[in-house]
């Protein structure tokens, strides 16, 4: 099975481990310890060579999340007017795979339904963060939040999110999802322009 080089390959493996070990110190000395972790979402990108450790010093450093990152859903209201975008059409509740969205449609004084939601619940102890609700929402009213630092000591109260807990402003959304925001605003502007030209 083995020739005269018995043990040699074993040492070769040790050399690779040693290389990794020392590369870390070389890296530290070169950068004086100030060093951003590699990430596809940072300027550091993906390093081509294998050098030293790649540890992120969480919480001092945080790996940024990409725009499409999905955590719990959030509902969006207009910053200027305070209007909630949701019209309670129910598509998000119908497309939700684990059925964790509960919506009560609002009614006017005559008892007729109006395009607003009265109650909106998301049970995050069921939610699988698939993003279908935001993907299929025709009004851009529900989006996926980026905030993942939300651990709790209790779950029955704090994991069933009602409307107040779900609402965020368009400004918040524009800050976390700049590209999507730009695209959606442009689409909306185009639609408005089309509408007004038709009216004219």
């Amino acid at each position: 099975m083995f020739g005269f080089d018995f043990g040699f390959n074993f040492l070769k493996g040790m050399a690779i481990t040693a290389k990794h070990f020392f590369a870390t110190y070389v890296q530290d000395i070169k950068t004086m310890g100030k060093w951003d972790p590699p990430s596809a979402n940072l300027e550091t990108g993906i390093p081509a060579e294998i050098t030293g450790y790649i540890t992120t010093q969480y919480p001092e450093q945080r790996l940024p999340v990409p725009e499409r990152f999905r955590y719990n859903p959030m509902l969006i209201y207009e910053q200027e007017t305070g209007d909630i975008r949701c019209t309670s059409c129910g598509i998000c509740a119908k497309v939700c795979p684990p059925q964790c969205i509960w919506i009560v449609q609002a009614k006017d004084s005559a008892g007729k339904t109006i395009p607003q939601c009265q109650e909106f619940y998301i049970d995050t102890s069921i939610c699988m963060q698939c993003g279908f609700c935001s993907e299929y929402c025709p009004f851009d009213a529900i989006k996926m939040n980026h905030d993942y630092e939300i651990s709790t000591y209790e779950r029955h109260e704090s994991w069933v999110l009602d409307m107040q807990e779900l609402l965020v402003s368009t400004r918040y959304y524009a800050a976390t999802h700049p590209k999507a925001w730009e695209r959606e605003e442009a689409e909306r502007a185009a639609k408005e322009a089309e509408k007004s030209s038709v009216e004219r």
Partner: protein, 820 residues
């Protein structure tokens, strides 16, 4: 947006701790002398600092979340910086239990025993939605709605799964809680210590001993769920059967008619409906004379309106180099279902027939060991029958009416009399019931006789389900003679999350995110398989760009999965974590790209019927090109240099766990198991799907059939994946990524389809039956890892216990897919 971590921690300090601090400050201002309390406060600071900086978690993973937990422990996030990196394999040395994943009814007694064995003070983190409240699998019949129904939980970490940074934040939350405790109030220095939690028993459903006194009277109050059938369909389109499939079926029918005459079978489209009496002979003739030597898939469909259960077999011919498969079907009466077993013809039918028995109650006559496989003996009913309703049953099909427009939130446990996910049969008598678990070893009589001659004592060792080397919650019941494995029985189902039952309640589209959670190391491949299967029925044409994106994703996925497998195989062989860390590093780079494209590291949910969900972001292609051309080749080459020729690796793996080519085919193994045993079989070549026929790549084959070859074939396959990626990245065109409009509700034409992809763990197949509605009538997953396990006992016999770990590692199971 960006929050200061100190603020985060301050927010999280519990109220009582803040009170203590305020009180102490007040005391220090008013009393000049050093008080006892002040002394204790100083002592507390030191005491808590020591405790919070040396939390030892238990090496204990359940499901998908465990993968993220391991990533947290690996070099990129490095949980060791918090002093919590010393994962202990035994509960007696651990003080933190991270419940990482879905807690099933079969697993919960084991978790509680582990918890009871942990010394005080002990803490529990419920990681992810499943451990907290059942998560997406909550409605499943084998899933517990939250581990806090049984043991106290200190911190809940939201997410599905939580990212490593989210878990670290959860750990900091726990540290903040520890900081708020005082040695004065520490209950663990007083006697008596806390009472152990009684583990639940496995009866017709899970039985909590604390509920036994009230069980009998409450069973009478229990409401039987009423089945609400879905609305009738008006217009049903029928899917077209592809021509090649019809041709092979004609050919097989012609052969069988000459051989057995007309009464043995009748042809129905692309299926042959065989008379039960003829089944074994027909299968034997097809195998020996027509070359259909490979049983790909075996499952059943409950046609409740026709009063029959249909067992379905899919056969291919590896000997003739692939081509379309043929369907055999056997009808049997629903009230007394009996079908002859095909184990004598195809060894691979073993586990699959047991699964059908478990889920449908079909008895396979002549099966050597017909017992439940995913659930436990004594479980009440056969869950995949259409009239069997789970405890949290609401309606036959989603979406449920209770969600909109009058969707007042009401948790499923509030609707249930037990407050948890259980239901007992009306005639269940807890007094007369004897909670015994049967432990049957399957030993051949001649082997026993031979053992008796040696006059040595045989012992049964239960390895797992909580064992670091079983790659999840999997148990091997091993009969040992000294250190030699005499017999082995795999025990599974500890992660049975009722994927198929939920899949049949779901609408077609809803199954995509669930497939992510099947084999959670190969999500893109799972999405791929489900998409192409349903597209067969839909008959949509996928745009070119989307096809390329799909292939790029699937191949990146194969590399990251193989990286993980190699690392953990070496772990099993004793090279503890050094190779794994290097492998996980490379994997992280690929996961970054998945996160960028699809939005999540693990649960990508990226494919749609007719394409993919989003186009690639513009910064993606330069990054992936750099990765594929520069980083990954270097990494694979280094791994190869590091491990392949290593003497210890060779001694531990060469000639161990040998599986011959004949066995590999007969036992229906797939993927790397076949290729390492000298069978050149890869679905990307032999039954090309998507656009794989355009790329220039080879199918590596090795002939040893041992652990070493099953390791080395992965290195070779990664090189081929890089070749495909290189070509795909070169050729990818511009254009649409989705055929037609984005639709949230999909209707699929009536018909049935079997689609499969070559996943890192072998053939992943989906068998779907559509009745023309918005939900699948039958949704079955042919899991590569599950069927590969059929070969485990054949491979392990005669080797030592230490080799057994390596043999299991080389099959490389992922329990999400094994148990589904």
């Amino acid at each position: 947006m960006e929050r200061n971590p100190k603020d985060v921690v301050r927010d999280l300090i519990p109220d009582y701790a803040a009170d203590i601090l305020a009180e102490d400050e007040h005391l220090a201002q008013t009393v000049l002398v050093t008080t006892w309390d002040k002394l204790i406060k100083n002592l507390d600071a030191l005491y808590n600092w020591g405790r919070k900086s040396s939390i030892w978690p238990m090496t204990f993973g359940l499901a998908c979340c465990a993968i993220e937990m391991i990533s947290t422990a690996a070099s990129r996030y490095d949980i060791d910086r918090f002093g919590a990196g010393l994962f202990r394999a035994t509960p007696r040395q651990a003080d933190l239990m991270i419940v990482s994943g879905t807690v099933t009814k079969k697993m919960v007694p084991i978790i509680i025993r582990l918890y009871n064995q942990m010394p005080e003070p002990k803490y529990v983190i419920a990681m992810g939605a499943c451990a907290t409240g059942g998560g997406p699998f909550k409605e499943g019949y084998n899933v517990v709605s939250g581990i806090d129904k049984f043991i106290p939980v200190d911190v809940y970490v939201p997410g599905c799964p939580p990212t490593p940074q989210a878990l670290l934040q959860g750990l900091m939350t726990l540290q903040a809680k520890l900081d708020g405790q005082s040695i004065k109030h520490a209950p663990w220095y007083r006697s008596p210590l806390s009472e152990p939690v009684p583990p639940p028993l496995l009866g017709p459903d899970i039985v909590d001993p604390r509920q036994i006194p009230v069980l009998a009277e409450r069973i009478e109050q229990q409401e039987e769920p009423q089945r609400k059938p879905p609305k009738k369909l008006h217009r049903v389109k029928v899917a077209k059967i592809p021509q090649p499939e019809l041709e092979v079926t004609e050919k097989a029918a012609h052969f069988l008619r000459e051989r057995f005459g007309d009464e043995a079978f009748k042809q129905d489209g692309n299926a042959l409906i065989v008379e039960p009496n003829y089944l074994q002979d027909v299968a034997k003739a097809l195998r020996d004379e027509m070359g259909y030597d490979y049983l790909a898939n075996l499952t059943a469909v409950d046609y409740i309106d026709d009063g029959k259960i249909q067992v379905v077999y899919h056969l291919y011919s590896i000997r003739n180099g692939g081509g379309p498969h043929i369907y055999l079907k056997v009808d049997t009466d629903r009230d007394d279902p009996q079908v002859p077993s095909l184990v004598p013809v195809y060894g691979g039918a073993d586990f699959q027939e047991r699964e059908v028995y478990d889920m449908f109650g079909v008895r396979f006559l002549g099966h050597p060991n017909l017992r439940r496989i995913l659930l436990w003996e004594g479980f009440d009913g056969f869950p995949l029958r259409k009239d069997w309703l789970e405890a949290y049953y609401e309606q036959d099909h989603k979406p449920f009416d209770s969600r909109w427009p009058e969707g007042h939130h009401r948790a499923a446990e509030d609707r249930n009399i037990w407050g948890r996910n259980v239901r007992y049969p009306g005639d269940f008598d807890p007094e007369a019931w004897n909670p015994m678990r049967e432990d049957v070893m399957v030993v051949q009589p001649e082997e026993l006789a031979r053992l008796d001659e040696v006059r040595s004592e045989k012992i049964i060792v239960n390895m797992g389900p909580q064992h670091p080397s079983t790659h999840g919650v999997f148990q091997m019941r091993v009969l040992l003679d000294g250190e030699t494995v005499v017999d082995l029985e795999p025990v599974m189902g500890f992660m049975h999350r009722n994927h198929e039952k939920i899949g049949e309640r779901n609408a077609w589209l809803m199954n995509f995110p669930y497939t992510d959670r099947l084999d959670y190391l190969a999500q893109m491949g799972n999405n791929f398989g489900y998409a192409i299967t349903v597209e067969k029925l839909l008959g949509v044409q996928v745009p070119e760009r989307a096809e390329y994106i799909r292939v790029i994703m699937a191949e990146l996925n194969r590399i990251q999965s193989h990286m993980w497998s190699i690392g953990f195989l070496l772990n099993d062989l004793g090279a503890f974590f050094t190779p794994s860390l290097y492998c996980i590093e490379e994997r992280e780079m690929i996961l970054d790209l998945f996160e960028m494209v699809a939005g999540s590291r693990l649960m990508v949910n990226y494919f749609r019927f007719g394409g993919v969900a989003h186009d690639l972001p513009e910064e993606f292609l330069p990054l992936v090109k750099k990765l594929v051309r520069e980083r990954l080749p270097r990494a694979i080459e280094e791994l190869d240099r590091f491990l392949t020729t290593n003497e210890i690796v060779q001694v531990r793996t060469k000639g161990i766990g040998v599986l011959s080519a004949e066995q590999a085919i007969n036992l229906s193994t797939s993927g790397h198991m076949l290729r390492a045993s000298g069978v050149k079989w890869d679905l990307r070549r032999n039954d090309p799907y998507s656009i794989y026929d355009r790329f220039d790549f080879e199918i590596p084959v090795l002939y040893g059939g041992d652990i070493y070859d099953r390791y080395y074939i992965r290195i070779l396959e990664m090189w081929q994946s890089l070749r495909i990626l290189e070509q795909a990245l070169e050729q990818i065109p511009e254009g649409d990524v989705l055929a037609g409009q984005k639709k949230w509700s999909v209707r699929v034409p009536k018909g049935e389809a079997y689609g499969h992809v070559e996943n890192p763990r072998g053939e992943l197949g989906f068998y779907v039956v559509s009745d023309g509605g918005s939900n699948p009538y039958r949704y079955h997953v042919r899991s590569g890892a599950f069927i590969n396990l059929t070969a485990l006992s054949h491979m392990a016999k005669g080797y030592k216990v230490a080799d057994l770990i390596g043999i299991l590692g080389s099959i490389d199971i992922v329990l999400g897919e094994v148990d589904r």
